[in-house]
Amino acid sequence: MSEAVTLRAPAFRREPGKLWIVPPAALLALLFFYPLVLIARQAFLDDRGVANVAEVIRVLHSRFFLNALINTVSISVAATAGCLVVGLVLALILAFVPFPGSGFIARLIDTFIALPTFLVTLAFTFLYGSAGMLNAGLMETFSLPLPPVDFLYSAWGVILAEVTVYTPFILRPLLAAFSLVDRGQIEAASVLGARPFRIVRQVILPAAIPALIAGGSLCLLLTVNEFGIVLFIGAKGVITLPLLIYGKAIQESAYQVACIIAVVNIALSLGLFGLYRFAAGRLGA
């Protein structure tokens, strides 16, 4: 009986609509999965094409890899935390404090998403760099011999730039979530004696948790893979996984090492992406 079903099934499945899966699937396989498989394969082969698992273990235990992993995760977590805090405060102000032009500001921040990430870094150099406006101003005002502000060429500079670039990614889902919060609930809470801080904590935030998780995991994902900002800031000793992959592959031509690190980077990204999809799903996006 089950045989009959399986035999007849293909005949019924041959509807024209179903064939449309072939072109995108083929394209995806060619452009995405095939390179992915190549990278994964390359991770286990040395540069002469011979299987070399010992190298995998060596790289995963190496100082440079572990440093880069720690840098990547800590910068990414710090930048995401920064984005969440700044995004939350901005979103609360934009959504709940009525001031003229709030819509314009929201749209302006939105357009930030359209700009290339290194642009902000470049602007930062002009502002906070050793010859930037801030340092020049301070040096002139207090007649200092050396630029006093020197955070830009460190992990802090990277984090600050990433917070600036990626906060809109938190702001967007938050504003969407806040626009759905019933003003009546806020007013009811207020009449019952709740001050603004309590209302934010107990009425507004619970409604925004899916948005925070979705925005936060998107931020983690983007900052883990951030390349342009880290490269542009060029802080000494701030090497992240993408930068390490670049260095190993392009500068040292150590392809197996690059691929091993890339596989770790990809796994990290996919994990974060899963988290993002899960949260976005709960948000109904």
């Binding site: 019933d182 009546g184 609930q185 007013e187 009811a188 809470a189 207020s190 009449v191 019952l192 004696g193 709740a194 001050r195 309590r198 107990q202 009425v203 619970p206 409604a207």
Partner: protein, 381 residues
Amino acid sequence: MSAAAFTGTSVMDIDAAKVRGAGSNVHFDKVSVAYGAHVVLHPLTLDIAPGEILAMIGPSGSGKTTALRAVAGFVRPASGRIRIGATDVTDLPPYERGLGMVVQNYALFPHMRVEDNVAFGLRAQGADKALIGERIKDALGTVGMSAYARRYPRELSGGQQQRVAIARALAVRPRVLLLDEPLSALDAQIRRNMVEEIARLHRSLPGLTILYVTHDQTEALTLADKIAIMRDGRVCSHGPTTELYRRPPNRFTAEFLGRANLLPVTVAEAVGPKGFATARHGDALLTGAGRNEKAGDKSLLCIRPQHLSLTADSDHTNRIVGTLQEVHWQGELTHLVLDVDGTPVRVSATRLPIALPEPGAKVPLFFAPADTSLLPEDAGV
């Protein structure tokens, strides 16, 4: 009927003073509100006594919600002061006013259980745990929702959600309860029950002052001690419920509060010592309750549809004749529409003669002088 129970206001006031220390009256002192150049509340002066239910009714856009939100603190008056008890609250934020508020769409906190919704205000005010537990039980008991404490709002019906909203407002023991169309989202049957429950609730909390905004005159008539009728941002009449219904001071009030037949008349004999005047409508000489009408005044004689009878008796001494135009049978009531010298007159009757006249027939109508009220024809508002 509960309105009748509440009209003994002097007794109420004493009770209220005992229970709440007379600190719960609401006083609007020339309060005006404008959005930009658009004035939506003209200087309003109004008093709600401690323990009183004041129903504010009026057409859509007449400023009822605006007045209520000014008390709550969400609308800032352009001028005037608002006092609750001895406190001038005009400059206080909502969370310092000590009020309860219930609105049409309940506005329960969706991620909190019923008990946490009810406890919200107490927690915000820093009450201790034992007191909170006690008040949750009390408040949910009062609205008959004790069995639902562990549910989430989405697991309740509309009527149940509204009960929880009322319990949440009562749990903080507010001085004044603000209700803005609290029953509008419910269907007719539940609405009737809830009106009776709110009346019962107020009997158990006699000191609670209630500002009840509605556009439903039945709710207002059932619940309110006093009614304020709003029109275009002004109070067009204000008074004890039965008084306002029986002796509407102007045409708008007569027509907004219940149905009214308004017969144009000319006063023939000024108001006498017993408060009655005689007035002429065509050939008919009618007696009606008046205020200070003088002979020759143009006036309107207000007669409620249920006070017109097809049969004469010793009380129903006034008689007019109309041409029957329509008959609408509605089960409990039958509505007749007649034409009396060009004025449409509506009769609502519970019993009718067995042989009902045909449309087109001349029908005499009888009514008692005590059931009428003379009001000035041009009483613009």
